[in-house]
Symmetry: none
Subunit: 243 residues, 2 copies
DNA sequence: GCAACTTATTGTTGGACCACAATGGGAGTC
DNA sequence: GACTCCCATTGTGGTCCAACAATAAGTTGC
């Protein structure tokens, strides 16, 4: 009966490395994904194979997979195995949904974060953006009025801001915005549900674009700041008076 | 042996609600937290009790708890049970780590990102920071000269910038910086290896603090921008040209 | 070409053990 | 008698195992 031995080994490793068997297994599985350069749609080895690879039991592997699954990186599929997925959006949504009950300031935090970013990139855009890029912004902005549903309007709204972020030409920034996109979209949707006047959003964006055309960084900072603060007003939490 | 019956029930519920037994258990546990109005520090029932409450097996409950744990809402504590935790920060950092490959972002990207952030938070700090907080910055800055090694100097340097971030009072920002801390520390270490004049760093920080004392947002923006751009000069060239 | 069967995989369950911490009781001491 | 220290008991999470149900891909038979 090597059961006891395995348990003792695991306990020893845990004391040594500070990580539980589940964490270790999750780490090894993530390493495996990176090492084999698996992409979305590729399948992971079966749970039993992972159990052999990681040296942990199938239950432990399942808990590790459950963690990775919560991150939205994999989606299990019976008979096939776990498939590498692009479930980032749903995962982030679930994450914030789970936290909404606890910390009500999450939305305000994100909106404040956006304010710092989108105001801050003004200088770079004013200095570096080409006229064609600014025209492209105009085209994206025009689509807001064509939206048939609130969701579509929020998506077009987000597309405008994401395009703006793209002009900053910073990978870390685009990554973070992609990461946060589900939450930002949710914020925009709530805002439009509260006050569904698409023309106002388009006009605010238009003013921002005009400031970019004029290469007026101060006007851009002012208009963008006002635009984002305005959205904050319609969040269900509280007026941003709390420190 | 009502095992088969239970399995069939679960399967039926899953078809009906579209949720697996684990998801259902996680939902019921979250409901339980809400219903009992548990706060941070309170303890959840034991896994075996939750198993009875939710009607699922202990392994299923464990997978459900693993999900909630990944969200950072609970932290298991032996002999006591799972305690409600405030692990949002760590959870977000893990999410970032799972989804984003920092190594793909060049040092220049990270430094550019820092520039946007640390310049952008100036307005908020100038308006809201207390004199005590600014004095605290001064104390942190003073430690840079006491550093015995390059690593220690980099750490003190980072502590200054992290304290600055803390004054922005935005959780998302703090979390992202915590997540990026290894890379930023690496950048700082490289910079100090190239040009180990700690007094210059301290002086630059001192000027920034002086601008904050004077509540001069323009001076802050200029000095911080120059400070960060200066560091960029000592970074190794990288294939950052790819769009 | 299509349907039924086979099979491999995930989903779930129940049971078992270990390590660890808290609890309580009993022996020893003042 | 009251107090302190030690140790057995107990209960909890962590891990493992074996089994069965559900499911869908693959295979075979027609």
């Amino acid at each position: 009966m090597e059961n006891a031995q395995a348990v003792r080994d695991n306990a020893a490793r845990r004391r040594a490395g500070g990580r539980s068997a589940v964490d270790a297994a999750a780490g090894r599985i993530l390493d495996l994904i990176r090492a084999r350069q698996l992409n979305v749609g590729d399948v992971l080895p079966t749970e039993r194979e992972l159990s052999e690879i990681t040296g942990a039991s199938r239950n432990t592997v399942r808990e590790a997979l459950r963690t990775i699954r919560t991150y939205g990186l994999i989606e299990p599929k019976p008979r096939v195995g776990a498939v590498l997925a692009d479930g980032q959006s749903i995962a982030i949504q679930n994450f914030f949904a789970a936290h909404m009950d606890v910390s009500r300031s999450s939305f305000a935090d994100i909106q404040g974060f956006r304010r710092i970013i989108e105001v801050g990139i003004g200088d770079h855009i004013v200095l570096n953006a080409t006229s064609e890029q600014i025209e492209a912004l105009d085209a994206i902005n025009a689509r807001i009025l064509e939206s048939c549903s609130i969701e579509e309007a929020a998506e077009n709204d987000f597309n405008f801001h994401m395009a703006l972020i793209g002009l900053a030409d910073n990978r870390m920034l685009t990554d973070i915005y992609s990461f946060l996109s589900p939450v930002i979209l949710r914020i925009m949707t709530i805002g439009k549900e509260m006050r569904p006047v698409l023309a106002d959003t388009r006009a605010a964006h238009g003013e921002i674009i005009a400031a970019l055309r004029a290469r007026d960084r101060l006007a851009y900072a002012y208009l963008m700041s006002r635009h984002l603060d305005f959205a904050l007003r319609f969040l269900p939490e509280e007026p941003a008076s709390a420190t």
